[in-house]
């Protein structure tokens, strides 16, 4: 005898079946082999010729070059506010994209809220701090690049004052600033570094004002960790050395650009796409630097003496094989307290959460 199933029971059983099916679904599967993998990439700022977003777009190009017909790319740029981000990620995930990239710390909340809603989609988040079953993260050890650049800066500075311009005072910017000074201090411990935060990723006028302010205060090596080349350009105009970020910025500072610490995400992009296509994608936490080729240095300014360039090459190799760590002790903070003892180094969680300045940094992080 058929029993009439009440609506309540029907809902209960379908929910249970759904939950079971989701649980059985496991990690995101590849779509039918004939359909191309749709890859969605969300950029935080406009795609431009250089900068953070450009380097990510090179990753997208690498996917297109490697997989050709097997992958199709949807790119959306200039998504920097969380509300718009949530809508964009949800739209990509719900329109058949099997792999979705978020490319900024600012994408944290939107991607973390969207990923659980689409368990069959693989999400990869650059600069994210949280991962989950279908959300992986990838980040670069910028501090390795800034440390090397800092060594170069330490050799050329005459005023013994460096300048550092960052977008926002987050650990992934504060840390590299510290590392640059530490690199310079390995040449001369009396070097200091003035820090300005723009509180924007993308405000070239403010970046110019900030660079001019630092130069007026006597800084003669300026590193601008933002999404434009304005810092390098304005430093050049004012006769100061510059350190570029993310892309090779020599064209903007033809005579006084020391180097740029560049980012190469292609291995991450291609690897993730390959895993999704093979059906072997799992959520990973990647934190890569010079050793993996994610952080590379652009050719050093030829005004640097050969001896200095040799030193830099040796230092880079030492970072690669692990014998040199930019955050090795002894590290003191601005108040003079020892935070890392001689012989040890800053632990990985402390690096990821770097929220204080080392001795010699001129700036204020507390409210």
């Amino acid at each position: 005898m058929a029993r009439n199933i009440s609506r309540r029971e029907a809902l209960k059983y379908s929910a249970a079946t759904g939950a079971m099916a989701t649980g059985l679904a496991g990690v995101p599967r590849l779509v039918a082999a004939a359909d191309p993998l749709k890859v969605g990439i969300v950029y935080v700022s406009p795609i431009s010729e250089i900068g953070w977003t450009k380097q990510h777009s090179l990753g997208a190009e690498a996917i297109a070059d490697t997989f050709g017909e097997r992958a199709s790319i949807t790119a959306i740029d200039n998504v920097w506010d969380p509300q718009a981000g949530e809508r964009v990620f949800a739209e990509l995930a719900s329109t058949g994209h099997g792999l979705v990239f978020g490319t900024s710390f600012s994408h944290s909340t939107p991607i973390q809220k969207t990923a659980p809603r689409f368990p069959d989609v693989a999400f990869e988040h650059c600069s994210g701090l949280k991962h989950s079953r279908n959300l992986g993260t990838f980040e670069a050890k910028y501090y390795e690049g800034t440390y090397l650049a800092g060594i170069a800066g330490g050799h050329v500075t005459e005023s013994k004052k460096l300048g550092f311009i960052g977008g926002f005072p987050i650990p992934d910017i504060v840390g590299p600033g510290n590392a640059m000074l530490l690199g310079a201090q390995s040449v001369d411990p009396s070097i200091t570094c003035s820090v300005i935060f723009l509180n924007s990723w993308f405000d070239p006028a403010k970046e110019k004002e900030a660079t001019a302010a630092l130069v007026a205060q006597g800084c003669d090596v300026i590193c601008s960790m933002t999404d434009t080349a304005t810092g390098v350009q304005v430093a050049e105009q004012n006769g100061a050395w510059s350190i570029g970020y993310a892309s090779d910025m020599r064209q903007f500072g033809p005579t006084k650009n020391l180097t740029s610490f560049m980012l190469d995400w292609t291995s991450v992009y291609v690897g993730a796409a390959r895993d999704v296509l093979d059906g072997t994608w799992t959520s990973k936490v990647r934190w890569q630097g010079v050793k993996e080729g994610v952080v590379t240095m652009s050719p050093y300014n030829d005004q640097l003496p050969a001896g200095v360039i040799d030193q830099l090459t040796v230092a880079e190799a030492a970072i690669k094989d692990g014998s040199l760590h930019p955050y090795r002790g002894e590290l003191r903070d601005q108040q003079g307290n020892v935070r890392v003892a001689e012989g040890s180094r800053l632990s990985d969680p402390d690096i990821r959460g770097f929220n204080w300045f080392v001795e010699g940094m001129v700036g204020n992080l507390e409210g």
Binding site: P46, S48, A210, T228, T230
Partner: protein
């Protein structure tokens, strides 16, 4: 000393685009039209001027192109607000969005390529005076244009019949119409002027301030100019004060950060906005001043004959 000079010159230069946009908007609002599209018009002026400068034409031609582009976009707004009697708030915001998108689209091809920076205008003898020369006489031509313009607008508004007519129209367009003044054409002129100035402000940003094109490079300066006009009670001198204050506190906070002085960067970044609002509200708190200067017909559509 070096730092003090840098702060003063930085302030003057930072205030210039705000001054252009705000003075233009002041004229438009005094005639009774509220143009919320300033940000979009600045961007259109910026991208146009950059196009022209990139093609190799001199500064004056590029700035002129920015002016024309800004005026053209305000023409669209004028038709919407003055002929079709659309809601001025909505029309203005629509122009902002249009300007943002259109400028981004037109600016895509540049990537990050810069143009040659504009040289400061060297005035013989005057520019060479040790400190004063650099503070007063070492700017690029557009900075001088901005301050001269401020003087001209002040004089026009309060010392000429044309300015009086403009203010009458802003105060009571029906009465002006009855007397015989042509309200709509004069408002059109005011709106076009406002758009032209916004375009010039944007052009200044793109060709002189940071000689690159970057999407959304005005970064909200159009909105700040709008706010300046209101908080300054529609008085030109206070608008100038507001622009200098805003630009100045901006530069100061960057210097303060670099020296490690003061609270954390987030608070310092908010300081220009807070300081400007506070100062302007305080000096404009006299209700009489407010009532006297507020254009009574602001944002109200004018229907001749009603």
């Amino acid at each position: 000393m070096e730092i003090a000079i840098a702060i003063i010159t930085g302030t003057v230069v930072a205030a210039t685009p705000l001054l252009f946009a705000a003075m233009g908007e002041l004229v438009a609002e005094r005639s009774g039209v509220l143009n919320l599209g300033v940000e979009g018009m600045m961007l259109i002026g910026a991208v146009t001027a950059f196009h022209v400068a990139f093609a190799g034409y001199p500064l004056a031609v590029a700035a002129g192109a920015g002016v024309l582009a800004g005026a053209a976009s305000s023409l669209v707004f004028g038709v919407l607000a003055l002929n079709l009697l659309a809601n001025q708030y909505a029309a203005g915001i629509a122009l902002t969005i249009l300007g943002g998108g259109l400028s981004a689209f037109l600016g895509r091809e540049f990537g990050a390529a810069p143009i040659d920076p504009v040289e400061a205008l060297h005035i013989p003898v005057l520019s060479d005076i040790p400190v004063v020369g650099r503070i007063l006489f070492d700017y690029d031509p557009l900075v001088y244009v901005a301050f001269i313009l401020f003087g001209l607008i002040w004089w026009m508004l309060f010392r000429t019949k044309a300015g009086l007519v403009l203010r009458i129209i802003g105060e009571n367009p029906q009465a002006a119409h009855d007397i015989g003044f042509k309200v709509i054409p004069i408002r059109y002129l005011a709106v076009l002027f406002g758009g032209a100035m916004a375009g010039l402000g944007g052009a200044y940003l793109a060709i002189a301030y940071t000689p690159l094109w970057v999407e959304n490079m005005t970064a909200g300066r159009g909105w700040i100019a709008l706010a300046l006009v209101v908080f300054a009670s529609w008085r030109p001198l206070r608008v100038l004060l507001g622009a200098i204050l805003f630009g100045g506190v901006n530069i100061l906070q960057l210097h303060a950060q670099g020296q490690g002085i003061g609270p954390a960067s987030e608070f310092l970044s908010a300081l220009p906005y807070l300081a400007t609002i506070l100062v302007l509200v305080l000096i404009s708190r006299n209700r009489q001043t407010q009532k006297v200067n507020f254009p009574a017909s602001l944002a109200k559509p004018f229907r001749p004959g009603h």
